[in-house]
């Protein structure tokens, strides 16, 4: 339907409402549970499915071309830094488990706080360099890569 919510598993916590990029997961005011208010604007991006702490959200393929009876489930584990998928075919012939890493570092720990970096010099400001450059371009001490640094010259503009 793209996404739908199992009545007995949802407790209305709103994690899916918070994360949905398309603004279509809402809480029903009568049942106080989440539901997809606009299936035809759902991308099956699985952001809500991954965010749901109770595995209450699932996806059924789009009605205009996908038959019933299949399943693609996911568990995303930030602590372990992995994501696990299970794909079951409609005819039952295929049942796959797939696992992939989502990060190599504990969340957020490796991202620099730029407010704590020393202020850039005037030379840096006037140059074409960005933060951490030129080092981060080649991860060596070489300068910014330019045509000139490679022994080449910019062509005079050719107007067609």
């Amino acid at each position: 339907m793209p996404t739908f919510v199992y009545m007995t598993r949802c407790d209305g916590c709103g994690h899916c409402v918070d994360i949905c990029p398309s603004d279509i997961m809402h809480i029903d005011t009568t049942t106080r549970r989440a539901y997809n208010i606009e299936p035809n604007m759902c991308w099956e991006c699985y952001s809500c499915v991954k965010a749901c702490p109770h595995n209450a959200i699932d996806v059924r393929g789009y009605a205009d071309f996908a038959p019933l009876g299949h399943s693609v489930r996911v568990i995303r584990d930030e602590e372990k830094g992995v994501i696990a998928w299970r794909i079951k075919f409609r005819n039952g012939k295929k049942d796959m488990n797939l696992l992939a890493p989502i990060t190599t570092k504990p969340w957020g720990t490796a991202i620099p706080k730029l407010s704590e970096e020393s202020a850039p010099s005037k030379d840096m400001t006037d140059s074409q360099l960005l933060f951490n450059e030129p080092k981060y371009i080649r991860l060596d001490e070489g300068g910014l890569h330019t045509l000139e640094s490679n022994g080449l010259k910019m062509k005079e503009g050719v107007y067609y």
Binding site: C20, P21, S22, E38, P67, V72, N150
Partner: protein, 626 residues
Amino acid sequence: MGYKTIVEDDIDVLITGAGMAGTGAAFESRYWGKDKKIVIAEKANIDRSGAVAQGLYAINTYMGTRFGENNPEDHVRYARMDLMGMVREDLLFDMARHVDSAVHQFEEWGLPLMRDPKTGAYQREGRWQIMIHGESYKPIVAEAAKKSADKVFNRICVTHLLMDDAKENRVAGAVGFNVRTGDYHVFKSKTVVCAAGGASNIFKPRSVGEGAGRVWYAPWSSGSAYGLLIEAGAKMTQMENRIVLARFKDGYGPVGAYFLHLKTYTQNGVGEEYESKWFPELSKMVGKEYLDTEGQHLSHKPIPTCLRNHAFINEVNAGRGPIHMVTMEAFQDPHLEEIGWHNFLGMTVGQAVLWAATDVDPKYENPELTTSEPYVMGSHATGCGAWVSGPEDIAPEEYFWGYNRMTTVEGLFGAGDAAGGTPHAFSSGSFTEGRLAAKAACKYIDDGKAEGIKVSQEQIDKRGKQIFKPMEHYKIYRNEITAGSVNPNYINPRQGLDRLQKLMDEYAGGVTVSYMTNDKLLNIGLKKMKMLEEDLEKIAAEDIHELLRAWELKHRQLSSEAVLQHTLFRKETRWPGYYYRGDAMKLDDQNWHVLTVSRRDPKTGEYTMEKAPCYHLVSDEEEKVA
């Protein structure tokens, strides 16, 4: 209005939209603007917003200069050829010379990049693509933006830019509303980096009903990158250069890793190679420079994406569809089979759902491909967007007005889908463009260019009223009818979107007309577009969610009108396979080896079109790599 007005004042750098370009802009502006107030206004939640929300399995732009693989000039040659000559080489080169540093930072932040066990270099998918486990690509870069910005406003739909009342054609911030609370938000800012998204859903999609959201590009990409800028009077370029994608049928699953890494290939319905047979005739239409059917095996020049589409479309029209991707050979290798599935799970889960639902096991059955409806965007194999200034050390005079990536509106910068003429940026390149725009924005402020900005209360009140008008309109007229959605005084956002899509499909070269249009059709399209624009003044929104859809539609409508105007202006078929001008089928280098530039007068809505020089700054010959 029962909602509060919230004013955020004294902002130095306001970033509208926090996808890849916006996160890059937020991160970088903190370094160059330590003392500056940096604010993000994002329509969704920054952790999962933009086109990369569900993840990516590849970074599509990485030079690998570190590993001696490519140099920036090589990438310029490639993108130039792919877009049939029409690119801003200064911007492309600038992005390419910085993009590796962004990718190296992503790895340091924890993004798992795959490595070639033999060479130690990143695992290549193709010459420009490297493979990643990118399910959490967006949350990782979002973390960097959150650590850099002073404030992140999630769930704010930015509808308009604020203009300076003291000086004409200078930006002064933006306004929008909170899609949860309904509050009216006013951001007064010295500069704005527009990092909003391109436009999906402006052409009628192949999917219908419930499946209408299964488009190739995210359905929440509502053309704000163009709508905001066009309405502010910024010049736009290459808006005719819409893209059509060849993808796995219905699911629109990516084919890049399949072609390049898994070495799969395509064949027609009767099992034949079909592509090459369409090229000799096509070569007469586009010229040898772009498709050298005799010398291709020697030159190894990649065949432009649109021309491969041309072969696909014509083979299907000739009755020899469907086109299949031959996966049955590659998938016998369990490692490649796993990569094939991970490729979907990492970025287009819907394709995995579809194959599971239809029992298509690519190990035993070659899946169908299709060509998509067109999209208007500036960061994939297409270069729609704003006409922006180039970098000072490379840009020719016509491309330079002082600040890198600044649009023709002072203080207003564009990155990602918003920067025109820079195709093949993808995620890493968009992030890099955001960084470049942010540095320039900080410099603009430090140079004193943003002094004396004034925003009158009158302007704020006018926009506020305008934003909530669809809800007022609904309240006034809903009781004239018993119930239901058919009302003689208004249309709702979905009805408006359906009308826009039908119009664009039939008059601007969508799927149902096999991407074909002409002067006459475009003129009818423009006439009908004007009426739609008038009707959008009477659009009705039942609640705040519909109000969001109403403004998304308005941005889509502005983008679409620009597409019609540009397509009408370029009297040639520059990109066969993306669209055809039936009345000007031949590529016409003599008259149209130029970039197209438009401006919509914000007061009258009138369009002015002009040609701008297309400079080739990088020589044709390929040099040896570093």
